[in-house]
């Protein structure tokens, strides 16, 4: 299997006042197409930073990130935004949906930005909403949905656009156990059916157990296999 994502000796340093904070220190890792992978580690280990770099939301201080042949670590501004629009789906921990759009409009949002005609958008999104059990709630606004329902709409939005990769930052952090389990089931099923690559940042053991591969980070570096999260 060929590598979809290549992270090559990536460093990311933030400046906080007078202090340099080394969020990532020489991380090198590859992810293959169709993987369902967890990025695990304690708070401050660099999970979200690495996810942001792979998601083209941030740029490394040093090193390169490639998605197939595209060197996304060198993209800026409009190029990066357009790349995200065309190739990457996101599910965030919270505040996933645009408050003024309905569940259906949120799910269609990326397709609409890409200029997909309304009938095609509807035909793409409605079966997915039905699949996640939200068909009868498709015209509700986010504040009329529960946290789990909002996350499911975010998953539909990410998958409706058929991205190369879905990045999920702590997607179950605000959900109860039962809702988390159902969301994971859904993402795992879609991963198998559609072959979309999923990468999670999480420290939720329930998520980690369901992933086929776990990449552990500790203090901005890949942890050795015998190192735990504690």
């Amino acid at each position: 299997m060929s590598a979809l994502i290549r992270v090559q000796d990536v460093h990311r340093t933030y400046r906080q006042g007078e202090i340099d904070v080394h969020a990532l220190r020489g991380v090198t890792v590859d992810l293959d197409k169709g993987e369902f992978t967890a990025l695990a580690g304690p708070s401050g280990s660099g999970k979200t930073t690495l996810l942001n770099l792979i998601g083209c939301l941030d740029r490394p201080t040093q090193g390169r990130v490639l998605i197939e042949e595209d060197v996304i670590s060198e993209m800026t501004g409009t190029d990066a935004a357009n790349y995200r629009l065309q190739h990457i789906g996101f599910v965030f921990q919270a505040y996933n949906l645009i408050p003024v759009l309905t569940a259906r409009e949120n799910a269609e949002f990326i397709l609409q930005l890409r200029g997909v005609p309304p009938e095609v958008r509807k035909a793409t999104v409605m079966p997915l909403l039905e699949r996640v059990g939200l068909l009868d709630m498709s015209e509700r606004r986010p504040h009329e949905l529960s946290g789990g329902q909002q996350q499911r709409v975010a998953v539909v939005r990410a998958l409706a656009a058929k991205p190369r990769l879905v990045l999920a930052d702590e997607p179950t952090a605000n959900l109860d156990g039962e809702t988390s389990e159902a969301l994971l089931d859904l993402m795992l099923e879609l991963n198998k059916e559609l072959g979309v690559t999923f990468l999670f940042s999480t420290h939720d053991s329930q998520v980690i157990e369901r992933c086929r591969r776990v990449i552990r980070l500790r203090s901005g570096q890949l942890a050795q296999p015998d190192e735990g999260d504690a």
């Binding site: 979200t48 995200r84 629009l85 949906l97 645009i98 003024v100 930005l113 890409r114 200029g115």
Partner: protein
């Protein structure tokens, strides 16, 4: 793709506007209220300036005036022009001219056996004066002098209410006018009081007096068709300067053509140089007042809108800070910085459109109401009003719609509101999506 993006952005802009209804309604009230008020005040100001111009034309004696050169400044009895009927006929046929009223103007002292009063006597053709100001409408007693009235008992004279009181005379009494004749001698002439006039202005009523042209000419020793002034009443849709140019052309044609043989170019064997003035040239203080008032109104409106613009900029900055995560989300989903800024600009544009529409309805309704009912200044203030020396006590303020000015105000207000959103929009584009998404963590 672009059309699709614009559609979703417009949908979001419209719904975002109503997310915080109270704030939006306050903004709409501020923008719409200021704009509506500015339209209303402009309408009222323009009507007042229009009324002032009409009054100024009335006070000046015409929208365009023809005198002997220097008469407007010196007011000498000897500064006369010849206005034979054929010349008057030609002037009345000039494009834009509605009427030509010949006048003899006398500054003199009116006396009885018991008292005296300084007056400004106008020898007029009453029928010709009606096009500008109908003195008959202000008569409280008696009749206006007609052409041909007069005889051994004296020429007819109508006196202002104040002059009547000053002299303690009544209808049928005789008065004597003492004034400088055209030949430089001091002359006396007998007049018979035939009417009383009340203009509404106390000052004017203490000095005004009318007689017919024959009576005034007789008092000054003028001959034939000699007068001091031709008051030209013009079609007010045309600029006074345009009428002046046309009048000058008519006079030049008369002087250089066969008409000159019938008189008008010379008086007592001397060639007369005429001066032709617009009412603005005759009453520059009124023009100055209108210009200053206009400038003050503009400054006031600009200051008002700058204050509103700052309030709007502040509100939009608050909106940006409240929606940092939303902008981060949009950016993460692939909306570019310029499009996020575009969303805010679009929200402002929708807000501006709604506000200006509300403001226009407000301003236009007020304009229609004022145009229909008017505002009686005298009733409102209960005192005599004067602007630039013009009595406005009988003035009813209405509103006048000048489309170009309204359009300018609309574009100006809209532009200022749109400008106020530029900085917040720019600020929204400066947020890195990764930082924006972590803003509240």
């Amino acid at each position: 793709m672009f059309k699709s993006t614009v559609l979703v952005m417009f949908l979001m802009a419209w719904r975002n506007l109503w997310r915080n209804r109270v704030r939006t309604l306050i903004l709409i009230s501020a923008i719409g209220g200021s704009y509506g008020l500015s339209l209303f005040s402009m309408g009222m100001g323009d009507d007042m300036h229009g009324s002032l111009a009409d009054k100024a034309g009335e006070i000046a004696g015409g929208h365009v005036l023809v005198h002997a050169k220097g008469f407007h400044a010196d007011r000498e009895s000897s500064q006369i022009i010849d206005a034979p009927p054929a010349l008057l006929q030609l002037l009345r046929a000039t494009p834009g001219v509605v009427e030509v009223a010949p006048r003899v103007l006398i500054a003199g002292l009116l006396t009885t056996s018991e008292s005296s009063a300084p007056i400004m006597l106008q020898g007029v053709d009453t029928d010709r004066e009606k096009a500008l100001f109908d003195p008959t409408s202000k008569l409280t007693q008696g009749v206006m002098p007609k052409t041909g009235d007069g005889g051994q008992l004296g020429h007819p004279i109508v006196l202002g209410k104040g002059v009547m009181a000053e002299l303690s005379v009544k209808l049928g009494d005789r008065v004597v006018l003492t004034s400088n004749r055209a030949d430089g001698e001091v002359g006396r002439a007998l007049f018979l009081v035939t009417g009383v006039i009340a203009t509404g202005s106390r000052d004017l009523d203490r000095a005004i007096a009318y007689t017919n042209l024959a009576g005034a000419r007789s008092a000054l020793g003028l001959k034939g068709s000699q007068v001091h002034e031709l008051g030209i009443v013009a079609d007010m849709t045309l600029a006074s300067e345009t009428i002046k140019t046309a009048v000058l052309a008519t006079l030049n044609a008369w002087d250089s053509g066969p008409g000159a043989q019938k008189g008008g170019k010379t008086v007592a064997g001397k060639t007369v140089t005429r001066e032709v003035l617009t009412w603005q040239q005759a009453m520059p203080e009124i023009v100055g007042f209108i210009e200053i008032d206009d400038a003050f109104n503009y400054v006031f409106l600009i200051v008002l809108f700058i204050i509103v613009a700052f309030a709007i900029a502040n509100s939009f900055l608050m909106v940006v800070m409240e929606r940092v995560r939303e902008f981060g989300l949009l950016s993460a989903l692939g909306v570019t910085g310029p499009r996020i800024a575009g969303l805010l600009i679009l929200e402002t544009a929708v807000l501006t459109l709604v506000s200006l529409t509300a403001g226009f309805l407000l301003g236009f309704t007020a304009h229609l109401a004022l145009q229909h009912w008017g505002l009686d200044v005298a009733e409102l203030y209960g005192v005599e009003m004067g602007v630039g020396g013009i009595d406005m006590g009988d003035m009813v303020l209405r509103s006048e719609l000048r489309p170009v000015k309204w359009l300018t105000a609309t574009v100006g207000a809209g532009t200022l509101v749109m400008l106020s959103a530029l900085y917040p929009a720019w600020k929204a584009t400066r947020m890195a999506p990764s930082e924006a998404m972590r803003f509240y963590e």
